[in-house]
Amino acid sequence: MSTRTTRAPSTDDGAPPRLRRFGRYLATHPHLVLVAVLVTLILVTGAIQPNYLSVTGVRNSVLFAVPIGVLAAAQTILMLTGGIDLSAAMIATGAAYVAANQSPEGAVIAIGGGLLVGVLSGAANGIGVGVFRVNPLIMTLAMSAILLGLFTSWAQTIFSGSTRMGDFIRTLGGGSFWGRTVPWAVVVWAVLSVLVIYMLRYSGFGRNLYALGDNAIATRLSGTRSWQVLIVVYMIAGLFAAIAGLLLGGRVGAVDLQLANVFLLPSVAAAVIGGTSIFGGTGTYSGTILGALILGVLQSMLTFLGVGQAIQQMLYGSIVIGLSWLYTRIAAAQ
């Protein structure tokens, strides 16, 4: 963004050079678009309901974004490898269910049990995708059906106990500190975000994920045991889904087998809006965080507008299409 004395010699498409340079700048910094959309949404929501521009208002949006954001962490790392997790919502629900059941045994066992559900289901997904080469869409879809069946029958037998979350998890999911301003769930999300961003950007494992999604054959030929990477990444994704389930279950207080269902497709949408390619190889978790926040603010805005479920869903779908279209345009310009 220097002075306008430097004129581009080949401006034959009629656009002023400054505008074009701005376009190029956007292409290399696609997050700016997301930030602009987010700020616009916040301002529009503030214009509709002035009370929104306060700690409580923003807090509500962020709280809504937390389960989407954590589930979308699972989607993001899988989408980088060219995969997807349609069982994430069911894993989250199962983890919350086990945690609620084990709550009388103490917080450690409850949380441990919940996370174990995530890791085991993720490992099963990973074995299916990594070793048996089942299409990830189908593998996780089937896993979702299997988990639903298992938990429905277990709900009457071995997990027939309490469906109320223990106090510790309820504090973690719904409680706040500093005079009810900062929710604990946001702290959990922030820690997880730092870990994911660090893993993707600086660890060898993170680079392997990008490499696998970019060119699976080249990655294998250069010596990566891709099946091991896939099993581990699906286990991590299962773990994230379980964390999302615990936070959500803690906020709601009691669990049922429909707990996280509504968050499945928004979690995919958040990753997509955030610029992660569903074919693998490109994307960042910081983009996904912005995507989840956009969805959270959008939810607040639609609630304030008082529009029905019908308009909400139509707007929601249009925004997914519109933003991903914009993103593809920007990426093409790059």
């Binding site: 349609l86 299916g128 048996f132 080469r133 089942v134 299409n135 869409l137 189908i138 593998m139 879809l141 089937a142 896993m143 979702s144 059906a145 299997i146 639903l148 069946g149 298992l150 429905t152 029958s153 499945l264 497709l265 995919v268 949408a269 997509v272 390619s277 569903i278 074919f279 029905g308 479920q309 019908a310 308009i311 909400q312 869903q313 139509m314 707007l315 929601y316 779908g317 249009s318 925004i319 997914v320 299409i321 991903s324 279209w325 593809t328 345009r329 093409a332």
Partner: protein, 337 residues
């Protein structure tokens, strides 16, 4: 549309049955599995007659049509997550418009809905080709848009239709009866027509060409973008057919049914029916028994005395095993060539 190498053709001419098995093996196998399951089911329950057959065919027909919709789109190299909510949208629109109308009017409304659905879904296909956004993302959006439109058309469950219209899809004026033939006729006509179109016409074959290699198809003179939009239009009208059947079965519309689950069911059905998610491979004929089997597994398992919740588990395992087997077969074929 399997790529046949010269040696394979030579081998095929020497042993024609082998070639036939390679080409139609999956279709035959899935039909045999379906018939075997029906035969097994008939030994399980005390009275097996036309009432049971009618119940399976009638209630299974929306699944079959929806699976066919997904199959057409996937064969052309796409995937449509929105077909489920297209079913819901067309079903509630039909229920709202057809309430209290005479038979002839309901038929006209039904045809109108089929055409409107084709146009609506071709807009989705157009967005995909113009924007270059992956199919799965755009149709994730259309899944929500259609669901919202359905809630807007019919906020509360209700509406109605004519008796003759219900007879057309269910073989009875009340939706419950022992006459499976109208439903069988509807499925046969629709599926055979689309199978003939896909396998025997120039336009239909171009769907396979685009699905297996878009660039090659484009270079050989096929307008790939148009073919893609066409596949979405045909898929949309099949989803609408599923919606019309749903209205006929239930006699009313319900927009609170979430279309996403129906979509996932249709994806499972085409996988079981041997359609490759990578595009270009598969047959609509094989999707019919696959859709029926997925629907039909529940009554079989409950007749066997299995906890119905286990049915869900078995369904999931079945799909995974099928995918593993196809993966293995593909791997062996690659090794051989």
């Amino acid at each position: 549309m399997t790529a046949t190498t010269p040696s394979a053709i030579a081998a095929g001419s020497r042993r024609p049955w082998r070639r036939w098995v390679r080409r139609h093996g999956w279709t035959t196998g899935i039909w045999i599995l379906f018939l075997a399951l029906i035969a097994y089911y008939s030994t399980l329950i005390p009275s097996f007659g036309s009432f049971q057959v009618a119940s399976i065919v009638n209630n299974g027909s929306p699944f079959v049509f929806l699976a066919a919709a997904q199959a057409v789109i996937v064969i052309a190299g796409g995937i449509d997550l929105g077909v489920g909510s297209m079913l819901v949208l067309t079903s509630v629109t039909a229920a709202r418009l057809m309430e209290g109308q005479p038979f002839a009017a309901t038929i006209l409304i039904g045809i109108g809905i089929l055409l409107a659905a084709a146009v609506l879904n071709s807009i989705v296909g157009w967005i995909i080709t113009v924007s270059q956004v992956p199919d799965i993302v755009v149709t994730l959006g259309s899944l929500y848009v259609f669901q919202g439109m359905a809630l807007w058309v019919l906020p509360n469950p209700g509406g109605g239709t004519s008796e003759g219209y219900r007879y057309l899809f269910t073989g009875s004026n009340t939706g419950i009866g022992a006459n499976p033939w109208p439903a069988i006729a509807m499925i046969s006509i629709a599926i055979l027509a689309v199978a003939w179109w896909l396998g025997r016409t120039r336009r239909g074959l171009s769907l396979y060409a685009v699905g297996s290699d878009t660039t090659a198809a484009y270079l050989s003179g096929i307008r790939a973008a148009r073919v893609k939009i066409l596949s979405y239009a045909v898929g949309g009208s099949f989803a609408a057919l599923a919606g019309l059947a749903t209205t006929a079965i239930a006699g009313r519309g319900n927009a609170t049914t979430f279309g996403g689950n129906l979509t996932l069911n249709s994806v499972a059905a085409i996988v079981l029916g041997g359609v490759a998610l990578t595009g270009g491979i598969g047959s609509v004929i094989a999707v019919v028994p696959a859709g029926l089997i997925l629907f039909f597994l529940n009554p079989i398992l409950s007749a066997m005395g299995v906890d119905p919740n286990r049915a869900q588990i078995i369904q999931g395992l079945l799909i995974v095993i099928v995918m593993m087997v196809t993966g293995l077969l593909e791997w062996r074929r690659q090794r051989r060539s």
